[in-house]
């Protein structure tokens, strides 16, 4: 229903702007806090405008970190987060593409059963299986390593299901034409299915990158070495300092910096993302 009455337009904009303000306010406050002097925040004296300590605070988190809390410089943690998020997203997409390919295009015994087993793992996120997962990863000697951070998170029933639905909507004649054109299964997969899934892959990459970037519990448990800290963990460490008050301006500056890469990914892939969620371009 599209109506064009000025009064309704006014209401619409008011509601939308209020929503934006509501969502943006905490981010703004975090930014404001990150530009204050460390002590002022604890005095309960809150302002809505940034003050002059921007360079100081950001310089500190970027190049020194917070030694008192055992937190390395943010740059290092960002790289760790980036590695983890990218590996999780890419790994999940690669594995889901392959398993959806197997489920849709091959007839093998227990195909249905296997599909439903994959589906069942939806009910088993890391939080639920954290103890056995920890034991397995520890047993493999993967604690405090990128592989240990990434592997337990890399299977994805959701992505498998999404690709399965997409593959089912691809006309079967395409696979047959490729067979007649002399393409084997993997060639068909690489030359035709993957390029056709491009927008779906992009949309999933955005979602999964953010999922990976925001991982909290698993990195917290699987890493003790500060060289492997992620940004999210670093913030947790900064807040949970023993025997003293957290230095809030540094915490907030880290949080703001930690928000930038997901934002960058969303902005960069916005077009493909929307396309991937809306249509399937066949």
């Amino acid at each position: 229903m599209v109506e064009n009455r000025p009064f309704l337009g006014l209401i619409r904009h008011t509601v939308l702007i209020a929503g934006v303000l509501l969502l943006a306010l905490p981010v703004w406050l975090a930014f404001v806090a990150s530009t204050q002097e460390g002590g002022r925040l604890l005095s309960g004296d809150v302002t809505l405008w940034p003050s002059g300590h921007f360079l100081q605070t950001y310089g500190a988190v970027l190049f020194e970190g917070m030694r008192s809390a055992g937190v390395p410089p943010v740059g290092r943690m960002m790289l760790n987060s980036l590695a983890m998020a990218v590996l999780i997203a890419v790994g999940k997409i690669a594995i889901s593409l392959l398993s959806a390919f197997a489920i849709v295009y091959f007839r093998f015994p227990l195909r249905k059963t296997i599909f439903w087993m994959i589906f069942l793992t939806l009910m088993l996120p890391v939080e639920v299986r954290i103890v056995p997962t920890f034991q397995v990863v520890a047993g493999l000697g993967l604690l405090d390593s990128t592989a240990g951070l990434v592997l337990p998170l890399i299977a994805s029933a959701t992505a498998t299901f999404l690709f399965r639905q997409f593959f089912l909507s691809v006309p079967p004649e395409l696979a047959e034409a490729a067979r007649i054109d002399g393409a084997g299964p993997m060639r068909f997969f690489a030359d035709i299915l993957v390029p056709l899934s491009r927008t779906n892959i992009a949309a999933l990459f955005v979602i999964l990158f953010i999922y990976g970037w925001n991982q909290y519990l698993w990195p917290f448990i699987a890493t003790t070495d500060e060289a492997h800290y992620t940004v999210v963990m670093g913030i947790q460490r900064m807040v949970a300092v023993p025997d003293s008050e957290p230095i809030w301006n540094l915490v907030m500056a880290t949080a703001i910096l930690g928000m930038l890469p997901p934002v960058a990914v969303v902005v960069a892939m916005q077009k493909l993302f929307v396309k991937g969620l809306v249509d399937s371009e066949k």
Partner: protein
């Protein structure tokens, strides 16, 4: 350039009913075979068996003297044009045509030359860099053809390639396909449910019904001497008039008021079917009938006439009779087709003496 031979080819899907039942066929080098039949009769299945897209349940597919039952579609040296074209949406026209050659590791310059030549034949040169989504239906159809001819396969397979086009384009593409096949002299198997398409394209026609090849032969032979009631009713438009009758040894009784003398017919008494094509029905002299409907087609007119207390027939006439005027329907004995209760043609030639006599006569 190759022969294609199907030997008692059979396909049973999981439900056990044979979709294709013991079909045998020998196509000569360069022959254009058209498989025609109603929807669901197994045409596509037969074609897919030849292509290797379905596994054979019984019988053999032989291409150029080699049994190919166990060969992958890519190794059979065939090319197929699908009803929905099945073009790769993310590749350009040139990419679509080149894909099969690339997979066969043909050297790049050679691929480019072949694509260019195929594009010229099909007038696609301007469109080589476009994607399928940027083409009209007819252009997509051409690209699908281009993808088939660029490989220079031993056999072309077409599965209803024109049925997604509008009527006008269908006619012009039909002519073009025929011309192309003549020019390339490649053996072709073409599936369609459209009997006009079938008649105009085929060197030889295979009429299928429920998985069985009812009759195989040149289009006009099938038109003139259909082997079964099914073929008689399927080939020809408007369809042949088929009248159930009761044969008593002398007369075939069509209705209470009409019986036909069939001199020389040796069949045992019982039910049979009389067939006569609309263009062979005369509208003067003969059995009383009434006009029910007139369909002027321009060149000629279709007249629907009902025999007194009897069945409805369609006649093709040069001019429309006056509406509601009483008519006398004539069925020339020489043009009559006879089928037994099982639907098979009864061979019968009317003795020449009988042909002179009045063919239809009312029974007292």
């Amino acid at each position: 350039m190759a022969t294609l031979s199907l030997q008692a080819l059979t396909k049973r899907y999981d439900n056990g009913v044979p979709a294709v039942n013991a079909v045998s066929l020998d196509a000569a080098d360069g022959e254009f075979i058209v498989i025609v039949g109603p929807s669901g009769c197994g045409k596509s299945t037969l074609l897919r068996l030849v292509a290797g897209l379905e596994t054979v349940s019984g019988g053999r597919v032989v291409i150029d003297g080699a049994v190919v039952n166990d060969r992958e579609p890519g190794n059979r040296d065939i090319a197929m044009v699908f009803q929905n074209y099945a073009l790769y949406p993310h590749m350009t026209v040139a990419g679509n045509m080149a894909y099969g050659l690339r997979n066969r590791r043909v050297p790049k310059p050679e691929i480019a030359a072949k694509v260019r030549r195929a594009a010229e034949i099909l007038e696609l040169t301007e469109l080589l860099e476009r994607r399928p989504a940027q083409l009209s239906g007819g252009q997509r159809q051409r690209v699908a053809m281009g993808r088939a001819i660029v490989r220079e396969p031993k056999v072309f397979l077409f599965d209803e390639p024109l049925s997604n086009l509008d009527a006008k384009l269908r006619v012009s593409m039909r002519v073009e396909i025929k011309r192309l096949q003549r020019r390339l002299r490649t053996t072709a198997v073409y599936v369609t449910h459209d009997q006009v398409e079938a008649m105009t394209l085929a060197d030889r026609l295979v009429v299928m019904n429920r998985g069985v090849a009812e009759q195989i032969g040149p289009p006009l032979a099938l038109y003139e001497r259909p082997a079964t009631v099914f073929v008689a009713g399927f080939i020809g438009s408007p369809a042949m008039n088929l009248l159930p009758a009761e044969w008593d040894g002398r007369f075939a009784r069509v209705s209470p008021h009409l019986a036909l003398a069939l001199p020389g017919l040796g069949a045992p008494p019982g039910p049979l079917t009389l067939g006569i094509r609309p263009e062979h029905l005369g509208l003067e002299g003969g059995a009383a009938a009434a006009v029910e409907l007139v369909e002027p087609l321009g060149a000629d007119t279709l007249v629907h006439v009902r025999l007194a207390d009897g069945p409805l027939l369609v006649a093709r006439a040069a001019a429309a009779p006056a509406p509601d005027a009483p008519l006398a329907l004539e069925m020339p004995l020489a043009r009559l087709h006879l089928f037994d209760a099982a639907g098979n043609r009864i061979p019968w030639e009317a003795p020449s003496a009988a042909l002179e006599a009045r063919p239809c006569r009312p029974v007292a």
